[in-house]
Amino acid sequence: MTTTRRTLLLAGAGALAAPALAVAQSRDAIRIGAVGPYSGNAAAFGISMREAIDLVVDQRNRAGGLLGRRIEVMHGDDAGRPEEAANISRRFASRDRVSLVLGSVSSPASLAAAQVLRDEEVAQITISATAQRITRQGNPWVFRSAVPDRKLVSDLVDFIAEKHPTHRRFGFLYVNDDFGKGGFDSFVEFGRARGFSITAEERYSRGDIDFTAQLTRIRASQPDAMIDWSRYAEGALILRQARQVQLGLQIYGSDGVAPPAYLELAGEAANGVIYATHFSPATASGAEAERFMAAIRQAYNKPADMTHAQAFDAATIACDAILRARSADRQPVRDAIRQTDFNSVRGPFRYDQFGDPTLVTHVVRIVNGRETNARA
């Protein structure tokens, strides 16, 4: 018994000493912080984000690094929790002395990180966070890789009005959090201009698994089509249950269902779904996109998804900004990010005065379990 206790204590002491060693390793590298949900229920986004960032940094390091220095990425898992994102950001800024921070994925975690990074005066490029208000706080240190939700929704509304003019009355199902509420509010606002109306507003909590009550009420309200503003796990269940209750409506979805896990989980039920997204292999064009998709396939043996593209662009912007600034110091890097102007994997990329990208969005339709260009 005594020996076991001693071993446990020793193991504990070892665990305490380990981080000190890790910090001491590399002094001269340029450091970039990356904070994302590498665990928890948004982990599919987080893992894609990490893969793409590691890929960019790997490529740059093999080509000799930046300004003659190696790049070192420090990853921090926020599990989607704002408090954790704030803690990690504080560590990146004050202890790890990073040049800038990439992340996070969810809007609340990104907002919590932004509060800290603004204090510490470190530039931040969020990856998938779409809440409009992230870049509307008068915070000069925050930039975004994703297109804000309002732009995405307004493009989807335009798409429906032009390609499916018979769809004018909608049943709207959404996850009751920042993401779902943001989608719903924007849809109501932009839809009004097109004469759209909502026949049923139904919501659910993150992590719910039974949606038959909401789907039945939506069917009873007799809309022309259904909008589903969900993330991939719930979105896939909704598709399967919509088929069970014989909903019989065209379903339009959000960028939250863009991870490939959605199609895997939904299977056949996904056929015919149309959703707005930031990137899709089906709509990608240009040499940058081709090279990016080939690199992801080669490194990870999987098709490139939306979060890969957003994180790949964010990491590229970061590296290029350091090169243009000829410095890894925070202020010059921030100023250089603002001047970003390049061909990203999602098309020509520039920042507007708020720090939002001026990119086009895409609409895809699922045919035989694969994304196809719905605008074609």
Binding site: R5, L8, A15, A18, P19, P82, S107, P108, L111, D178
Partner: protein, 327 residues
Amino acid sequence: MNASRRDWTIAFAGIGFAALLPFLAPDGFVMHLMTSVAIAAMLALGLQMLLGVSGQLSIGQAAFFGLGAYGAALMTKEAGLPFLLALPLAGVIGGIASLAMVPITRLRGPYLAVATLGFSIMVYLVLKNEEWATGGSYGLIGIPRPELFGFRLRDPMLWYWFCAAVAALTYVGMLLLQTSRFGRALHAVRQNEDAARASGLRVTLLKSQCFVISAVVSGMAGALFAHHLRYLNPNDFTFWKSIEILIMVVIGGVGSLAGAVLGAAVVVVLPELLRVVGDYRMLVFGAMLVAVMLVGEGGLAGIIGGLWRRAAALLRRPRPALRSAAE
């Protein structure tokens, strides 16, 4: 009487260490983390009051924490009240909310626990859905920096000292309470409720008072938290937060105030240290919790107390040996 002197020694040693810490590790992140420890320590002390002193299990502490946090944030952000006023008022908010719990203090064990859980779920839903006040799931942005007498606590070291001082006052207050007549009555209630009632103690009143004290402390911790991160989101006040607080108390040692603080430090700092393990971080953290529970039922306080006694015994043992050698 002796035990009490030992408690005071531990308290002042701990407070002295906390006060000197910024000189030992003058680092922004360490200060940030230690401020989080001070806030967590208040939460753990609040629950220790319930669980360790009066024997009531609450798994809804996040509710009072959240109400205090949002209450204080709205007071300084929207109403422009000074932070020093918002801090005690946040405690008042927590205390008033806990009055809703008075009817359920008659419940015991798991029944009480589930009732507190229900309350915390309600509070979470209110924070999440009353968008006009709380910002809903987007969260509350732009909480001002804490100010003391017109002086902004911009330096993380000053802010740490302030939070540590509030936590230290809480600790001393609880220590005084524990050894008072009130504290002894609570001990009696914990050990045998029926016997306490038979001796003329007003058990329900005592338990309710305990609930209010615990909620006031949690509400004040919320006010500190709101001005620490300066961004609030309902996701930080879920069931998981209540469980974290429970882990702090149990791993530190149920019944020990010093243990509660130690438990808070472990629960806040250990996951940060374990980031080097990468994806297995929370797995290792969980395994360590199981290990501590296996080693001793009294938590860390019990383990350290045991080691201390053994060390003392070792120091005492050589004496007869020396004497025999001299003879």
